[in-house]
Amino acid sequence: MPQLSRRCIRYAWPVSHQSRPTSPQPPDVIERAAAAYRALADLAETIEDEWQYVTDLVDAYLPGIRGLAERDVELELDVVVAVDEAIAEIASITDPHKAIDWLSTFPHVVAVAVGGDVDRPSEVSEPEDAAPPEPEPDEDSPFRILLRGDR
């Protein structure tokens, strides 16, 4: 075998198996986001009157955040930086009231950054012990389209 061919074979594998220098794998940064979100919830839970709402938010959004890692999409470096900056923002919060605001905001900021969706219908579930459903608005109610949430 000519020397040149052996050289190609020898160097082809390491090159082809190098991880791309653009970013860590998506699950890493998304898992960091999920861990940061859980820590934010721990802070928010110190407001006893809002414990239920905090629990509902976490139940709704934490699977949605983790679900962002399940897409077959490699994140660009600027997206990874964006998520890490958002994590740094919520890590800097010390006020539990502000933490509650961010429990709603953070998942959507991350979703905007990665181009995903944390509100997928399959992940929306009514709390098991929620208040009983109220009567549906009239069929011709001007509110019906908004109340259905199908806009």
């Binding site: 709402y53 900056e85 923002e89 605001d101 905007v112 929620a130 109340l147």
Partner: protein
């Protein structure tokens, strides 16, 4: 039923000063023509701890990345700058500014399809004791009036707010008036729905307009 100016109390006088701040109109004007991503940017910045614009530019590459449409980037930069202007007012003032911005934004969007858009108005019904709190925004058309309560976050959805809106709708129906009553929340629809799901207050006939669907205010009666 009829609409009436709210009697100004001390709180209203102070708040009126904030509502009249040009920064409120400026932010609302930008958000009225903004994209959903820009509205999330504004919410994040005005809720945020950090006031360095470069930090926020890094958090929103979809708005400030190298491949972003320059026109969108320019507009987003104005949204960012104005939002930082609110964030820099300090914790105490910023919550009042945020509330005033949602009200102004709602009024501006409604003005896209209605002429009689008013602020801080009460609704009076025959034989019914008047509510103390005025509605943030009203559309006072003769046959199909609308009343709106505006909130910065889903956490602001309370039983008091829901009861007042539902009462108004029912009293109007008693007078054969089709009153649209809705709550506008500058927060995620899903978060609002979670809040509503735990509420025992009647809200089946009350509309919800969340951050993702604000443009609907300019398009049709909710």
């Amino acid at each position: 039923m009829r609409f009436q100016d709210a009697a100004p109390d001390a709180r209203a006088v102070v708040y009126a000063g904030i509502q009249a701040d040009p920064l409120v109109a400026h932010v609302a004007s930008l958000l009225a023509e903004g994209t959903p991503a820009e509205r999330w940017l504004a919410r994040a910045v005005m809720n945020g701890e950090r006031t360095d614009p470069e930090t926020w530019r890094r958090i929103f590459p979809v708005l400030f990345g190298p491949s972003t449409d320059p026109a969108l980037s320019d507009h987003a930069a104005r949204v960012l700058d104005a939002s930082l202007g609110v964030a820099s007012r300090g914790e105490a003032a910023r919550s009042q500014y945020r509330g005033a911005i949602v009200e102004e934004l709602t009024a501006r969007l409604l003005a896209g399809r209605a002429t009689a858009v008013r602020r801080e108005r009460r609704v009076l019904f025959d034989g019914v004791r008047a509510e103390i709190h005025p509605y943030d925004v009203t559309v006072e058309s003769g046959d199909k009036p609308e009343v709106y309560d505006c909130k910065w976050g889903a956490r602001g959805i309370s039983a008091d707010v829901l009861n007042q809106l539902d009462d108004a709708r029912r009293h109007a129906a008693d007078e054969d008036v089709e009153l649209a009553a809705a709550i506008v929340v500058f927060d995620a629809r899903r978060s609002c729905e979670l809040r509503l799901a735990r509420s025992t207050a009647e809200h089946g006939g009350t509309g919800l307009v969340a951050l993702e669907e604000l443009d609907a205010l300019a398009e049709k009666r909710p």
